[in-house]
Assembly symmetry: C2
DNA sequence: AAGTTAACCTAACAAACGTTAGGTATGTCG
DNA sequence: CGACATACCTAACGTTTGTTAGGTTAACTT
Protein backbone atom coordinates (compact mmCIF):
# COMPACT_ATOMS: atom_id res chain seq x y z
CA UNK A 1 0.00 0.00 0.00
CA UNK A 2 1.07 3.55 -0.57
CA UNK A 3 -0.33 4.77 2.72
CA UNK A 4 2.45 3.20 4.73
CA UNK A 5 3.98 6.61 5.26
CA UNK A 6 1.32 8.28 7.34
CA UNK A 7 -0.11 4.99 8.48
CA UNK A 8 1.08 4.85 12.06
CA UNK A 9 -0.29 8.29 12.75
CA UNK A 10 -3.57 7.22 11.19
CA UNK A 11 -3.62 4.10 13.33
CA UNK A 12 -3.14 6.18 16.44
CA UNK A 13 -5.98 8.49 15.52
CA UNK A 14 -8.21 5.56 14.72
CA UNK A 15 -7.48 3.84 18.00
CA UNK A 16 -7.81 7.09 19.90
CA UNK A 17 -11.27 7.49 18.44
CA UNK A 18 -12.29 4.05 19.65
CA UNK A 19 -10.70 4.52 23.04
CA UNK A 20 -12.10 7.99 23.66
CA UNK A 21 -15.52 6.80 22.61
CA UNK A 22 -15.37 3.92 25.06
CA UNK A 23 -13.99 5.69 28.09
CA UNK A 24 -14.07 9.39 27.36
CA UNK A 25 -11.08 11.62 26.73
CA UNK A 26 -9.97 12.21 30.30
CA UNK A 27 -10.52 8.68 31.47
CA UNK A 28 -8.38 7.39 28.63
CA UNK A 29 -4.66 7.20 29.21
CA UNK A 30 -1.89 7.38 26.70
CA UNK A 31 -0.24 4.15 27.69
CA UNK A 32 -3.28 2.17 26.71
CA UNK A 33 -3.70 4.17 23.54
CA UNK A 34 -0.08 3.43 22.65
CA UNK A 35 -0.54 -0.25 23.34
CA UNK A 36 -3.57 -0.42 21.07
CA UNK A 37 -1.63 1.38 18.37
CA UNK A 38 1.21 -1.09 18.75
CA UNK A 39 3.84 1.23 20.13
CA UNK A 40 5.22 2.35 23.47
CA UNK A 41 3.75 5.17 25.52
CA UNK A 42 6.41 7.74 24.99
CA UNK A 43 6.49 7.13 21.25
CA UNK A 44 3.21 8.92 20.84
CA UNK A 45 5.10 12.15 21.27
CA UNK A 46 6.92 11.50 18.06
CA UNK A 47 3.63 11.99 16.25
CA UNK A 48 1.79 14.41 18.49
CA UNK A 49 2.76 17.21 20.80
CA UNK A 50 0.28 16.34 23.51
CA UNK A 51 -2.80 14.38 24.39
CA UNK A 52 -4.81 17.50 23.70
CA UNK A 53 -3.51 17.62 20.14
CA UNK A 54 -4.69 14.08 19.50
CA UNK A 55 -8.17 15.02 20.58
CA UNK A 56 -8.11 18.15 18.49
CA UNK A 57 -6.92 16.49 15.30
CA UNK A 58 -9.52 13.83 15.79
CA UNK A 59 -12.34 16.28 16.09
CA UNK A 60 -11.02 18.59 13.41
CA UNK A 61 -10.67 15.83 10.83
CA UNK A 62 -14.13 14.60 11.62
CA UNK A 63 -15.87 17.93 11.48
CA UNK A 64 -14.16 18.79 8.22
CA UNK A 65 -15.22 15.50 6.74
CA UNK A 66 -18.79 15.88 7.94
CA UNK A 67 -19.18 19.35 6.49
CA UNK A 68 -17.73 18.50 3.10
CA UNK A 69 -19.54 15.18 2.83
CA UNK A 70 -22.88 16.68 3.70
CA UNK A 71 -22.28 19.63 1.39
CA UNK A 72 -21.71 17.44 -1.63
CA UNK A 73 -24.65 15.27 -0.68
CA UNK A 74 -26.96 18.27 -0.75
CA UNK A 75 -25.43 19.65 -3.92
CA UNK A 76 -27.79 17.70 -6.12
CA UNK A 77 -30.62 20.23 -6.11
CA UNK A 78 -33.48 18.22 -4.73
CA UNK A 79 -36.59 19.58 -3.12
CA UNK A 80 -36.28 20.49 0.56
CA UNK A 81 -38.37 17.59 1.78
CA UNK A 82 -36.05 15.09 0.14
CA UNK A 83 -33.08 17.07 1.36
CA UNK A 84 -34.34 16.90 4.91
CA UNK A 85 -34.61 13.15 4.59
CA UNK A 86 -31.05 12.97 3.36
CA UNK A 87 -29.95 15.27 6.13
CA UNK A 88 -31.34 13.04 8.83
CA UNK A 89 -30.08 9.86 7.24
CA UNK A 90 -26.61 11.23 6.75
CA UNK A 91 -26.38 12.60 10.24
CA UNK A 92 -27.64 9.48 11.96
CA UNK A 93 -25.74 6.97 9.89
CA UNK A 94 -22.56 8.97 10.09
CA UNK A 95 -22.94 9.30 13.84
CA UNK A 96 -23.47 5.59 14.31
CA UNK A 97 -21.65 3.68 11.59
CA UNK A 98 -19.20 6.32 10.56
CA UNK A 99 -15.85 6.75 12.18
CA UNK A 100 -16.00 6.57 15.93
CA UNK A 101 -14.69 10.08 15.86
CA UNK A 102 -18.17 11.48 15.31
CA UNK A 103 -19.47 10.43 18.63
CA UNK A 104 -16.64 12.19 20.30
CA UNK A 105 -17.18 15.48 18.58
CA UNK A 106 -20.33 16.07 20.57
CA UNK A 107 -19.18 14.88 23.92
CA UNK A 108 -15.69 16.20 24.36
CA UNK A 109 -16.02 19.84 23.43
CA UNK A 110 -15.44 20.89 27.00
CA UNK A 111 -12.07 19.20 27.04
CA UNK A 112 -10.67 21.34 24.26
CA UNK A 113 -8.52 24.27 25.21
CA UNK A 114 -9.66 27.74 24.27
CA UNK A 115 -8.03 27.96 20.85
CA UNK A 116 -9.00 24.50 19.70
CA UNK A 117 -12.50 25.00 21.00
CA UNK A 118 -13.07 28.00 18.78
CA UNK A 119 -11.87 26.15 15.71
CA UNK A 120 -14.11 23.16 16.27
CA UNK A 121 -17.12 25.26 17.15
CA UNK A 122 -16.70 27.16 13.90
CA UNK A 123 -16.94 23.96 11.91
CA UNK A 124 -19.81 22.68 13.97
CA UNK A 125 -21.67 25.88 13.19
CA UNK A 126 -20.98 25.42 9.50
CA UNK A 127 -22.47 21.96 9.76
CA UNK A 128 -25.53 23.28 11.51
CA UNK A 129 -25.90 25.95 8.87
CA UNK A 130 -26.41 23.29 6.24
CA UNK A 131 -29.47 22.20 8.17
CA UNK A 132 -30.68 25.75 8.50
CA UNK A 133 -30.42 26.39 4.78
CA UNK A 134 -32.58 23.41 3.96
CA UNK A 135 -35.14 24.65 6.43
CA UNK A 136 -35.13 28.11 4.92
CA UNK A 137 -35.50 26.67 1.43
CA UNK A 138 -38.42 24.64 2.70
CA UNK A 139 -40.12 27.67 4.16
CA UNK A 140 -39.92 29.36 0.77
CA UNK A 141 -40.72 26.44 -1.49
CA UNK A 142 -42.89 24.17 0.63
CA UNK A 143 -44.62 26.58 2.93
CA UNK A 144 -42.90 25.22 6.02
CA UNK A 145 -43.65 27.18 9.12
CA UNK A 146 -40.14 27.86 10.38
CA UNK A 147 -40.38 30.38 13.16
CA UNK A 148 -36.75 30.04 14.15
CA UNK A 149 -34.57 28.07 11.78
CA UNK A 150 -31.74 27.75 14.29
CA UNK A 151 -34.09 26.21 16.81
CA UNK A 152 -35.38 23.59 14.42
CA UNK A 153 -31.93 22.83 13.07
CA UNK A 154 -30.70 22.13 16.55
CA UNK A 155 -33.69 19.95 17.31
CA UNK A 156 -33.05 17.91 14.18
CA UNK A 157 -29.38 17.48 14.96
CA UNK A 158 -30.01 16.56 18.56
CA UNK A 159 -32.69 14.04 17.72
CA UNK A 160 -30.29 12.40 15.34
CA UNK A 161 -27.25 12.54 17.54
CA UNK A 162 -29.13 10.96 20.39
CA UNK A 163 -29.85 7.83 18.40
CA UNK A 164 -26.30 6.68 18.92
CA UNK A 165 -26.92 6.40 22.65
CA UNK A 166 -29.48 3.64 22.29
CA UNK A 167 -29.21 2.21 18.80
CA UNK A 168 -28.33 -1.45 18.53
CA UNK A 169 -27.52 -3.10 15.20
CA UNK A 170 -29.59 -6.13 16.10
CA UNK A 171 -32.51 -4.03 17.32
CA UNK A 172 -35.95 -3.89 15.73
CA UNK A 173 -35.28 -0.83 13.58
CA UNK A 174 -32.70 -0.17 10.92
CA UNK A 175 -30.95 3.14 10.57
CA UNK A 176 -32.89 3.76 7.40
CA UNK A 177 -36.17 3.26 9.22
CA UNK A 178 -35.19 5.45 12.14
CA UNK A 179 -34.01 8.32 10.00
CA UNK A 180 -37.07 8.03 7.77
CA UNK A 181 -39.36 8.25 10.79
CA UNK A 182 -37.54 11.24 12.19
CA UNK A 183 -37.52 13.02 8.83
CA UNK A 184 -41.23 12.38 8.45
CA UNK A 185 -41.87 13.65 11.97
CA UNK A 186 -40.03 16.86 11.15
CA UNK A 187 -41.64 17.35 7.74
CA UNK A 188 -45.13 17.05 9.12
CA UNK A 189 -44.24 19.09 12.18
CA UNK A 190 -43.15 21.97 9.99
CA UNK A 191 -46.32 22.16 7.95
CA UNK A 192 -49.00 24.58 9.11
CA UNK A 193 -51.91 22.91 10.82
CA UNK A 194 -54.71 21.67 8.57
CA UNK A 195 -52.74 22.20 5.41
CA UNK A 196 -53.12 20.21 2.23
CA UNK B 1 -33.03 26.55 60.54
CA UNK B 2 -34.05 22.97 61.12
CA UNK B 3 -32.10 21.69 58.15
CA UNK B 4 -28.78 22.21 59.84
CA UNK B 5 -28.49 18.54 60.60
CA UNK B 6 -28.13 17.05 57.16
CA UNK B 7 -27.00 20.31 55.72
CA UNK B 8 -23.31 19.70 55.16
CA UNK B 9 -24.00 16.58 53.19
CA UNK B 10 -26.54 18.51 51.16
CA UNK B 11 -24.00 21.24 50.55
CA UNK B 12 -21.52 18.72 49.29
CA UNK B 13 -24.03 17.22 46.89
CA UNK B 14 -25.03 20.64 45.68
CA UNK B 15 -21.46 21.72 45.08
CA UNK B 16 -20.65 18.39 43.48
CA UNK B 17 -23.46 18.96 41.05
CA UNK B 18 -22.08 22.34 40.06
CA UNK B 19 -18.53 21.09 39.85
CA UNK B 20 -19.33 17.96 37.87
CA UNK B 21 -21.43 19.99 35.50
CA UNK B 22 -18.60 22.42 34.92
CA UNK B 23 -15.74 20.00 34.51
CA UNK B 24 -17.21 16.56 34.28
CA UNK B 25 -16.99 13.84 36.89
CA UNK B 26 -13.53 12.54 36.16
CA UNK B 27 -11.95 15.93 35.63
CA UNK B 28 -13.27 17.08 39.00
CA UNK B 29 -11.13 16.39 42.02
CA UNK B 30 -12.22 15.93 45.56
CA UNK B 31 -9.98 18.59 47.01
CA UNK B 32 -11.68 21.27 45.01
CA UNK B 33 -15.07 19.86 45.83
CA UNK B 34 -14.19 19.93 49.50
CA UNK B 35 -12.97 23.49 49.26
CA UNK B 36 -16.21 24.60 47.66
CA UNK B 37 -18.15 22.80 50.35
CA UNK B 38 -16.10 24.54 53.01
CA UNK B 39 -14.28 21.54 54.42
CA UNK B 40 -11.00 19.72 53.97
CA UNK B 41 -10.42 17.03 51.37
CA UNK B 42 -10.32 14.05 53.64
CA UNK B 43 -13.44 15.10 55.47
CA UNK B 44 -15.56 14.14 52.52
CA UNK B 45 -15.08 10.55 53.56
CA UNK B 46 -16.99 11.19 56.71
CA UNK B 47 -20.09 11.67 54.56
CA UNK B 48 -19.42 9.43 51.58
CA UNK B 49 -17.57 6.18 51.01
CA UNK B 50 -16.05 7.23 47.73
CA UNK B 51 -16.14 9.67 44.86
CA UNK B 52 -18.27 7.20 43.00
CA UNK B 53 -20.88 7.26 45.72
CA UNK B 54 -21.17 11.02 45.46
CA UNK B 55 -21.90 10.73 41.78
CA UNK B 56 -24.39 7.97 42.35
CA UNK B 57 -26.35 9.74 45.09
CA UNK B 58 -26.42 12.82 42.92
CA UNK B 59 -27.89 11.01 39.98
CA UNK B 60 -30.18 8.86 42.04
CA UNK B 61 -31.70 11.80 43.88
CA UNK B 62 -32.22 13.63 40.65
CA UNK B 63 -33.81 10.79 38.75
CA UNK B 64 -36.12 10.04 41.62
CA UNK B 65 -37.17 13.64 41.80
CA UNK B 66 -37.71 13.89 38.09
CA UNK B 67 -39.88 10.80 37.93
CA UNK B 68 -42.08 11.78 40.88
CA UNK B 69 -42.37 15.42 39.86
CA UNK B 70 -43.35 14.57 36.33
CA UNK B 71 -45.76 11.91 37.52
CA UNK B 72 -47.70 14.30 39.71
CA UNK B 73 -47.64 16.92 36.98
CA UNK B 74 -49.33 14.54 34.57
CA UNK B 75 -51.78 13.30 37.19
CA UNK B 76 -54.28 16.04 36.38
CA UNK B 77 -56.01 14.21 33.59
CA UNK B 78 -55.60 16.58 30.70
CA UNK B 79 -55.79 15.71 27.05
CA UNK B 80 -52.64 14.25 25.51
CA UNK B 81 -51.80 17.35 23.51
CA UNK B 82 -51.70 19.47 26.63
CA UNK B 83 -49.80 16.75 28.42
CA UNK B 84 -47.19 16.71 25.68
CA UNK B 85 -46.75 20.44 26.11
CA UNK B 86 -46.29 20.00 29.82
CA UNK B 87 -43.89 17.15 29.21
CA UNK B 88 -41.62 19.26 27.06
CA UNK B 89 -41.78 22.25 29.31
CA UNK B 90 -41.04 20.24 32.40
CA UNK B 91 -38.18 18.40 30.83
CA UNK B 92 -36.51 21.44 29.36
CA UNK B 93 -36.98 23.74 32.30
CA UNK B 94 -35.90 21.07 34.75
CA UNK B 95 -32.83 20.36 32.67
CA UNK B 96 -31.83 23.98 32.48
CA UNK B 97 -33.03 25.79 35.58
CA UNK B 98 -33.48 22.83 37.83
CA UNK B 99 -30.75 21.47 39.98
CA UNK B 100 -27.47 21.21 38.14
CA UNK B 101 -27.71 17.52 38.81
CA UNK B 102 -30.01 17.04 35.84
CA UNK B 103 -27.39 17.88 33.31
CA UNK B 104 -25.11 15.33 34.83
CA UNK B 105 -27.57 12.51 34.70
CA UNK B 106 -27.31 12.40 30.94
CA UNK B 107 -23.61 12.83 30.58
CA UNK B 108 -22.01 10.72 33.24
CA UNK B 109 -23.77 7.41 32.89
CA UNK B 110 -20.62 5.80 31.64
CA UNK B 111 -18.77 6.68 34.80
CA UNK B 112 -21.07 4.70 37.02
CA UNK B 113 -19.95 1.26 38.06
CA UNK B 114 -22.03 -1.73 37.03
CA UNK B 115 -24.38 -1.85 40.01
CA UNK B 116 -25.06 1.86 40.14
CA UNK B 117 -25.52 1.98 36.40
CA UNK B 118 -28.36 -0.50 36.51
CA UNK B 119 -30.15 1.43 39.22
CA UNK B 120 -29.97 4.73 37.39
CA UNK B 121 -30.92 3.23 34.05
CA UNK B 122 -34.02 1.75 35.66
CA UNK B 123 -35.19 5.15 36.80
CA UNK B 124 -34.32 6.73 33.50
CA UNK B 125 -36.47 4.14 31.79
CA UNK B 126 -39.33 4.92 34.16
CA UNK B 127 -39.00 8.57 33.20
CA UNK B 128 -39.05 7.73 29.52
CA UNK B 129 -42.09 5.57 30.06
CA UNK B 130 -44.05 8.61 31.18
CA UNK B 131 -43.42 10.09 27.75
CA UNK B 132 -44.43 6.87 26.06
CA UNK B 133 -47.72 6.71 27.91
CA UNK B 134 -48.71 10.17 26.80
CA UNK B 135 -47.89 9.21 23.24
CA UNK B 136 -49.99 6.07 23.47
CA UNK B 137 -52.88 8.03 24.95
CA UNK B 138 -52.57 10.47 22.08
CA UNK B 139 -52.66 7.72 19.49
CA UNK B 140 -55.93 6.49 20.99
CA UNK B 141 -57.61 9.80 21.73
CA UNK B 142 -56.16 12.17 19.16
CA UNK B 143 -55.41 9.93 16.24
CA UNK B 144 -51.69 10.44 16.54
CA UNK B 145 -49.69 8.30 14.18
CA UNK B 146 -47.27 6.70 16.60
CA UNK B 147 -45.48 3.93 14.76
CA UNK B 148 -43.01 3.32 17.55
CA UNK B 149 -43.70 5.07 20.82
CA UNK B 150 -40.24 4.39 22.20
CA UNK B 151 -38.70 6.05 19.18
CA UNK B 152 -40.76 9.20 19.51
CA UNK B 153 -40.29 9.36 23.27
CA UNK B 154 -36.56 9.28 22.84
CA UNK B 155 -36.72 11.95 20.17
CA UNK B 156 -38.72 14.20 22.45
CA UNK B 157 -36.38 13.70 25.37
CA UNK B 158 -33.28 14.23 23.29
CA UNK B 159 -34.59 17.37 21.66
CA UNK B 160 -35.30 18.76 25.08
CA UNK B 161 -32.12 17.65 26.74
CA UNK B 162 -30.06 19.19 24.01
CA UNK B 163 -31.43 22.65 24.70
CA UNK B 164 -29.19 22.92 27.73
CA UNK B 165 -26.12 22.81 25.52
CA UNK B 166 -26.90 26.08 23.79
CA UNK B 167 -29.54 27.90 25.83
CA UNK B 168 -28.60 31.27 27.24
CA UNK B 169 -30.81 33.13 29.69
CA UNK B 170 -30.22 36.39 27.86
CA UNK B 171 -30.86 34.85 24.47
CA UNK B 172 -33.75 35.70 22.16
CA UNK B 173 -36.05 32.89 23.32
CA UNK B 174 -37.42 32.04 26.71
CA UNK B 175 -37.72 28.50 27.96
CA UNK B 176 -41.46 28.76 27.61
CA UNK B 177 -41.13 29.73 23.97
CA UNK B 178 -38.65 27.00 23.21
CA UNK B 179 -40.66 24.24 24.82
CA UNK B 180 -43.86 25.51 23.21
CA UNK B 181 -42.25 25.37 19.79
CA UNK B 182 -40.90 21.91 20.33
CA UNK B 183 -44.22 20.64 21.64
CA UNK B 184 -45.99 22.12 18.65
CA UNK B 185 -43.45 20.56 16.30
CA UNK B 186 -44.11 17.17 17.84
CA UNK B 187 -47.89 17.52 17.94
CA UNK B 188 -48.10 18.38 14.28
CA UNK B 189 -45.49 15.82 13.38
CA UNK B 190 -47.59 13.10 14.94
CA UNK B 191 -50.77 13.90 13.08
CA UNK B 192 -51.40 12.01 9.86
CA UNK B 193 -50.79 14.04 6.72
CA UNK B 194 -53.66 16.14 5.44
CA UNK B 195 -55.71 15.63 8.55
CA UNK B 196 -58.23 18.03 9.91
C1' DA C 1 -18.13 14.39 85.38
C1' DA C 2 -17.23 10.70 82.28
C1' DG C 3 -18.08 8.40 78.02
C1' DT C 4 -19.43 8.44 73.33
C1' DT C 5 -20.22 9.95 68.89
C1' DA C 6 -20.33 13.09 64.92
C1' DA C 7 -17.80 16.31 62.30
C1' DC C 8 -13.87 17.79 61.00
C1' DC C 9 -8.46 18.48 60.27
C1' DT C 10 -3.70 17.23 59.01
C1' DA C 11 -0.55 14.54 56.74
C1' DA C 12 0.67 11.07 54.24
C1' DC C 13 0.52 6.87 50.94
C1' DA C 14 0.35 4.49 46.69
C1' DA C 15 -0.96 4.52 42.23
C1' DA C 16 -1.69 6.64 37.83
C1' DC C 17 -0.94 10.17 34.88
C1' DG C 18 1.09 13.33 31.02
C1' DT C 19 5.34 14.36 29.67
C1' DT C 20 10.42 14.35 28.84
C1' DA C 21 15.28 12.89 28.14
C1' DG C 22 18.36 10.00 26.16
C1' DG C 23 19.30 6.06 23.56
C1' DT C 24 18.86 2.59 19.43
C1' DA C 25 17.84 0.81 14.94
C1' DT C 26 16.80 1.69 10.16
C1' DG C 27 16.92 3.92 6.02
C1' DT C 28 18.15 7.93 2.92
C1' DC C 29 21.16 11.00 0.69
C1' DG C 30 25.32 13.32 -0.64
C1' DC D 1 31.41 5.79 4.02
C1' DG D 2 29.52 9.36 6.97
C1' DA D 3 25.79 12.64 8.15
C1' DC D 4 21.35 12.89 9.24
C1' DA D 5 16.47 12.23 10.03
C1' DT D 6 12.68 9.12 11.12
C1' DA D 7 10.43 6.03 14.09
C1' DC D 8 10.60 3.94 17.91
C1' DC D 9 12.13 2.17 22.98
C1' DT D 10 13.30 2.54 27.94
C1' DA D 11 13.19 4.75 32.08
C1' DA D 12 12.33 8.18 34.74
C1' DC D 13 10.40 12.98 36.36
C1' DG D 14 7.06 15.59 38.83
C1' DT D 15 2.38 16.21 39.70
C1' DT D 16 -2.16 14.97 40.77
C1' DT D 17 -5.30 11.80 42.37
C1' DG D 18 -8.49 8.97 45.42
C1' DT D 19 -8.06 7.28 49.67
C1' DT D 20 -6.65 6.32 54.50
C1' DA D 21 -4.93 6.74 59.32
C1' DG D 22 -4.76 9.16 63.36
C1' DG D 23 -5.70 13.14 66.00
C1' DT D 24 -8.77 17.19 67.65
C1' DT D 25 -12.93 19.55 68.92
C1' DA D 26 -17.56 20.21 70.22
C1' DA D 27 -22.03 18.38 71.32
C1' DC D 28 -24.99 14.90 73.43
C1' DT D 29 -25.97 11.13 76.78
C1' DT D 30 -26.05 8.91 81.01
Amino acid sequence: MADDKASRKQIILKEAARLFREKGYIASNLRELAKRAGIQGGSLYHHFDSKQEILFQLMDNTMTDMVTSLSTLLAGNLDPEEQLRQLMHFHISYTICGPDETYITDDELRNLNADNYLQIIAKRDAYQKLFEEVLLAGSRQQGWLVVDHKLIARAAIQMGTGVASWYQPDGPMSIEQISAHYAELLCKGLLPRNSA
